[in-house]
Amino acid sequence: MTPSLEYERQTAAETLRLITEGVDPWLALGQFLDDWRGEKLAQRPGLVSEPLPDVSHGYLRWAALLAAAVDYLCAEEGLPAPPWTSRPEYWLGEPWFLYPGWRLRAWQLVETPVPFRMRNIFGGDRILERV
C-alpha cells in the first residue's frame, strides 16, 4: 500500500495528545497555530471540532489554554466556538500567569484577551504570536 503523502494538519485534540506524550507544549501549540492559520477558513472548524481528550490534573492547564486559544481563534474569524471549549474544568481554580515575575503582572492582567482571562489564564497579548 502506498502511504499517503498528503499533509495532515494538527487538530486541537491532537495538540493536547502530543503534550501528554511529552512534546514541548509551546512547540505543540505552535504547530497547531501554524496549521490553523495555513488552513482555508471553511476547513478550520474541522481542526477544532473534536473535543479535547480527558487528561490528568497536571495537564489541565494546557487543556484550558487550548480551549481559550480555540475560543479566541474562532472569534477572530467569526466562527462559533465549539461547545467543548465551555467545559467547566477549563475554568482554572487558580490564576495561571504565564510570565511568573511580578513586573509583568499588571500588563498581563490588562492585556490578556478575554477568552484567556475568563479561564483564569494571564499572559498578555502575545500568547498566540508565532514570530
Binding site: 504565564l98 511580578w102 509583568l104 498578555g124 504570536e129
Partner: protein, 83 residues
C-alpha cells in the same frame, strides 16, 4: 558577530546566529514560549545581571525600540522574588 559558521563539510556550510543575537531577538519578541529559551541563554552566556543583559540587547536593537515590557521581562529573568 551576528552569524557564524556552525558546521562545515564538503559542499555544505551551516551558519548559525550567535547566542547573544538569539537572546536579543527572543527578549524583544517576548512571547511566553521564549521564557525557557531566555533562561537557558542567560545561563549559557553567563549573564549575571539585568543591566548586562540589557546592554547586550542594545548591541542589536536600538534603545528607542525597547519598550518597558522588554525591560521588565529582562529584569524578571534575574529576579526570583515572588510577586
Amino acid at each position: 558577530m551576528v552569524v557564524g559558521v556552525w558546521q562545515e563539510c564538503p559542499g555544505l556550510r551551516v551558519y548559525a546566529p550567535h547566542p547573544s543575537y538569539i537572546f536579543a531577538m527572543k527578549a524583544v519578541a517576548g512571547r511566553p514560549e521564549d521564557l525557557n529559551d531566555l533562561r537557558a541563554l542567560r545561563d549559557s552566556l553567563d549573564l549575571t545581571s539585568a543591566a548586562e543583559a540589557l546592554a547586550l540587547v542594545t548591541r542589536y536593537v536600538p534603545e528607542r525600540l525597547l519598550t518597558p515590557r522588554v525591560q521588565y521581562l529582562i529584569e524578571d529573568l534575574f529576579d526570583d522574588t515572588e510577586p
